[in-house]
Symmetry: C2
Subunit: 387 residues, 2 copies
């Protein structure tokens, strides 16, 4: 018996950093996915192990179910039909379980993800043997929401078997969850994100769950429906950044220059609102796709200037900007900045030859290029092995 | 009998473009000069020609005084103790005089400068033979105020002999004009600028006349006194730009995105005000030179981001930014953008080795690098041949 899920990554289209200071931001799903395959051993296999394989980072871990039970059941936690937060005590037990697996030093950053997996698995499905295989098209730690996609895909797979959601197991191909089920799934994924990030905003898991686009401001999220078929080039500079330090840097700059920075945050707020109006369908204005793309390019360029004004750009980001500018393409950093990923809008009418040339030039700088459709579906599930 | 003058170029430290939309801007003089030497033939030479040599552009023109007189005196214009505007009719006569000289096609852009020269010369000194030699350390058309420095240096030299200013001709070395004389000189220079630029802001000639720094907003200029010994690297990208198109582009963007752009202009206004507070002496706060430099660097970086948001950056400017960023130096475009010049603050404690390396790297990109002290003296005059 096998179930597969896939959950998309996300990008911030506008408003990163400024959102911390009260501005609107807009996030969108990308059609790059984290895939989860969940398989239970048949009774004849008489297996008693929980195995997780993280294919894209070449990590495999396994625990005897009895070991997990011993570590967790005394806390009275797992098995819960409503999403529950992992207590500090449970977190310690999970971390101990993960530690027993002797993580290679280089992969220690993934330990909290494995804790989240164990929490979600045992909370939703209890103590039963299974093999969970995770593959991902999303680079880890690049600001594309890989950890949220991981938690969403896991939650989707576990819930599909939990009996707490309604899914038609006889359906062929990818299947969307119902609205109530998505809400439950999103809450569970958020609990997983909390284990990984401490205080996540909830944006990444919400985008990965529902897909499409989301406008958010001061903690409140609004889903935006868009039929605009946007395509972005995502350039991963591979420059690691310290998100906390970058966020703190913007706050410090904002204390040093309160007037100027407050205008900057307000400008970003206007840009995010305009951008969400442009992509919203039915569109308030009757612009053609090309006109909309031009508007978006201008808004991206403006937002990038404001991010530079906040001081979160980086030489590697500037290199991407300069390169894409040569081809008259608009780019902006996405997420924390200081490295990470850069978005470049690929207009519908842009020739594939130009795209190939830009990618070739960017990759020759040592960057990783991904192209992605923007604002597609959220998490989906598949039962019949055809996916 | 010879008189020499020198008049400095200028840079915009903050607020270009936004100033058109009501924000404050700050300009400063740079210690790169346009030099004028004015020599009258001795009576024995019995010369009857007005000669101008523009050394830095290898252009020499001359007219018989009788020819100039015939072309202009019927208009009843020249000889005026107060600065007068060149009428459309006079402008046509001047242009005809200049045209007779068969300008090489490549230098046709200098024709209006020669008209301005003829206007200032004949208005202030009438119809007498002389040789005027102009040399300049300022690149032409790069936004460093070369035309204003030209008009200021010419006006200074002509006025020094006109009897309408008080200068001590027995003084040795460079000599400053008195305040009233500077006012007169500045007005004349402005008349020259009008011939060259149509509707100049008056900022360039004012900075070149008075030196130091000037804060301006909605047409009103305030001189700022600074004792801060600032040094800038000025990188001329040599990319020609169309200032009018760039200004129009910002206005159009501002019509398309009125809310966002209005916040952007307000942010620039705050930055210009902060910057002028930092450089003002006596300083309102007791910051060290290094602390002030750090503040200025941050404000320059912020202003540059906002200029990028207005859409007036250029690939060549980005190249300069990316290069100087590698050395942790802050840069911003100065003037119209779209090419032109980029400023990089050179902190007092920066080693000469680093400066040399930055310059070497920038020059290897085909750019021209100049280093300049900021906020120095305005126009000066010299009589004794020692200058």
């Amino acid at each position: 018996m096998e179930v597969k899920t896939r959950a998309p990554g996300k990008i911030i289209l506008a408003g990163e950093h400024a959102v911390v200071h009260g501005s609107t931001a807009v996030a969108a799903s990308i059609d790059l996915y984290t895939h989860v395959s969940l398989r239970f051993p048949s009774p004849s296999e008489n297996d008693d192990t929980l195995i997780i394989q993280l294919k894209s980072v070449a990590l495999e871990l396994s625990w005897p179910i009895s070991r997990i039970k011993a570590a967790l059941s005394y806390l009275g936690c797992p098995f819960s039909s409503t999403p529950t937060s992992c207590s500090a005590e449970s977190a310690r037990s999970l971390a101990a379980l993960v530690e027993e697996e002797n993580f290679p030093e280089a992969k220690i950053g993934l330990a909290s993800g494995v804790s989240a997996f164990l929490w979600l698995y045992t909370s939703i499905l209890g103590f039963k043997p299974a093999t969970v295989i995770v593959t991902s098209e999303l680079p880890v730690g690049a600001g594309l929401g890989s950890s949220a996609a991981f938690c969403v895909a896991l939650s989707g797979a576990f819930l599909a078997f939990s009996g707490s959601v309604n899914v038609d197991m006889s359906h062929q191909g990818w299947l969307m969850f119902g609205d109530n089920d998505l809400e439950l799934l999103n809450k569970w994924a958020f609990e997983g994100e909390k284990i990984i990030h401490g205080k996540p905003s909830g944006i990444d898991n919400t985008v990965s769950t529902y897909g499409n686009m989301i406008k958010f401001r001061s903690g409140s999220l609004t889903r935006i429906k868009s039929d605009l078929p946007l395509k972005m080039l995502i350039t991963n500079t591979k420059v690691g950044r310290n998100t906390k330090a970058l966020v703190a840097g913007v706050s410090e700059r904002s204390l040093r220059h309160p007037d100027a920075m407050s205008f900057v945050f307000n400008a970003v707020d206007s840009i995010s609102r305009e951008l969400s109006n442009v992509i919203q369908s039915p569109a308030p204005d009757n612009l053609s796709v090309t006109e909309k793309e031009e508007k978006l390019e201008e808004l991206m360029e403006m937002n990038q200037g404001l991010l530079q004004c906040m001081g979160v750009s980086h030489a590697s980001i500037e290199t991407v900007l300069r390169t894409t500018l040569k081809y008259k393409l608009a780019s902006k950093l996405t997420g924390a900045g200081g490295g990470g990923c850069v978005l470049t809008l690929l207009p519908t009418l842009l020739s594939g030859t130009v795209v190939d040339k830009v990618i070739e030039e960017l990759e020759s700088c040592g960057f990783q290029c991904l192209t992605a459709g923007i604002g597609g579906k959220g998490v989906e599930v598949c039962f019949d092995g055809s996916c």
